[in-house]
C-alpha cells in the first residue's frame, strides 16, 4: 500500500485540536510546556467547554500561554494567579477557571496565594509545572530544585544547609480540606501523557461539579536550564526527579 493511499482525510486519527492556535510556541525544543498545553486544549475541546473556560497565566516561561489556546485568558502578576482566578471563579461560578503556574511562581513567590486559594476550595483547576528551575529568567534555583542540582544561582549544586530542602508543595496542598483532587503526573512518555490527560479531564469534571480545588503537578523538564538534550532530560527526570517527587494520586475525593 502506498503512503499516499494512507494519508487521506478519512484515515486521519490524530491531529492538532482546533482549541490550539496556529502560533509557533516560543518554548525551547522538547519543552514539557508544549505537551501540557496540547493536552489542556484537547480536554477543553473534548469536554466542549471552550466558551466557558478562562485560563490564568503565570510569570515565567508560560507567561505567553495565552498565545496558544483559543480561550479567554488573564495574565497574572508573579505568583498571584490563584488570587486572580479566585475572583473569576466567584464572579463567574459557571465558568471553568484554571491557573497554569511554574514552580517559582507557585511554590516560591506565590506560596501564600496558592495555599489560601486551595484552602478556600476555589472551584478551579491548578496546573503546576515542576521542573526544579526558573526557566524564563535563565536557569536559577527554584524552591523545588533538587539537593546538589546545579543552577545559575547554585552553581556548585543546591546547598540544603543554606537554602533548605526542595519543597514538596503538592504534599502540603493535599493536606488542605479545600482540595478534592491532588495528583502528581508527568508527560515524558505516551503512557504518561495519556494518564495526564485523564487527570486533567477529571479535574475539569470536578470543576464543573463544583467539588473544590483540583491540583495537578506535572513533573517536567527544562532541557535548556538543565543543559541536557530533550531526550536526556527525560532520562534525568526519571532517574532524579521521580524518586523525590513520586508520581501518583495523593487525594481523590
Amino acid at each position: 500500500m502506498d503512503i499516499k493511499d494512507i494519508i487521506k482525510e478519512e484515515n486521519l486519527v490524530y491531529s492538532k485540536t482546533k482549541v490550539l492556535t496556529d502560533n509557533v510556541m516560543h518554548y525551547c525544543p522538547g519543552c514539557t510546556h508544549g505537551v501540557v498545553h496540547k493536552i489542556l486544549a484537547e480536554v477543553i475541546d473534548e469536554l466542549n467547554i471552550q466558551e466557558k473556560t478562562i485560563g490564568v497565566t503565570p510569570v515565567g516561561c508560560a507567561v505567553l500561554a495565552y498565545n496558544y489556546l483559543h480561550i479567554d485568558w488573564q495574565e497574572a502578576a508573579h505568583g498571584r494567579a490563584p488570587a486572580v482566578a479566585t475572583a473569576i471563579n466567584r464572579l463567574y461560578p459557571e465558568k471553568y477557571v484554571f491557573t497554569y503556574q511554574g514552580d517559582g511562581d507557585l511554590a516560591s513567590i506565590g506560596a501564600a496565594e496558592i495555599i489560601h486559594a486551595c484552602n478556600r476550595g476555589e472551584k478551579m483547576l491548578v496546573i503546576f509545572i515542576n521542573n526544579g528551575i526558573y526557566g524564563m529568567t535563565g536557569g536559577q534555583m527554584a524552591p523545588t530544585t533538587l539537593e546538589g542540582m546545579p543552577t545559575s544561582t547554585s552553581p556548585y549544586g543546591r546547598d540544603v544547609k543554606m537554602t533548605g530542602q526542595p519543597l514538596k508543595i503538592t504534599e502540603l496542598i493535599a493536606q488542605l480540606p479545600g482540595t478534592c483532587y491532588v495528583t502528581r503526573q508527568a508527560a515524558h512518555t505516551p503512557a504518561a501523557v495519556r494518564k495526564l490527560k485523564k487527570a486533567i479531564t477529571k479535574a475539569f469534571d470536578n470543576t464543573g461539579k463544583k467539588k473544590g480545588t483540583s491540583f495537578i503537578e506535572v513533573v517536567s523538564t527544562c532541557n535548556s536550564g538543565w543543559k541536557l538534550s530533550p531526550v536526556k532530560s527525560n532520562e534525568w527526570m526519571v532517574e532524579h526527579m521521580f524518586p523525590y517527587y513520586p508520581l501518583g494520586d495523593m487525594k481523590d475525593e
Binding site: M1, I3, D5, I6, I7, K8, N11, L12, V13, Y14, S15, K16, L20, V24, M25, Y27, C28, P29, G30, C31, T32, H33, G34, V35, K38, A187, H188, T189, P190, V193, R194, S229, P230, V231, N234
Partner: protein
C-alpha cells in the same frame, strides 16, 4: 489477516527537531533529517515508513503538535 498500516505527516517548518518522537515510536519509524528546516532544525521524518502502525505515540509526546497521524486497516496481501 488484517494488517494495520500508518503514516505520519510532519509540519516540517514548525518542527524543532527535539527528537522526543523518535524515542516514543515503538516501531523505529522516525529519524531526524540530515537537512534542516527554515529555522535550522533537523526536522523529524519517516525514515522507515513501512513500519508505521499509526499508534500516534509520536504525535502525543510532540510538544509542538506538528505531527498528524493516519491509519488504515488492510488485508495482508503477500
Amino acid at each position: 489477516m488484517a494488517k494495520v498500516r500508518g503514516a505520519i505527516v510532519v509540519d516540517i517548518e514548525k518542527c524543532k527537531g527535539c527528537g522526543l518522537c523518535v524515542v516514543a515510536c515503538p516501531s523505529k519509524v522516525i529519524d531526524l533529517a540530515k537537512e534542516v528546516n527554515g529555522k535550522g532544525y533537523n526536522y523529524a521524518y519517516m525514515s522507515n515508513p513501512e513500519a508505521c502502525i499509526g499508534c500516534a505515540n509520536c504525535a502525543i509526546v510532540c510538544p509542538d503538535t506538528v505531527i498528524s497521524v493516519y491509519k488504515v486497516k488492510t488485508e495482508a496481501n503477500a
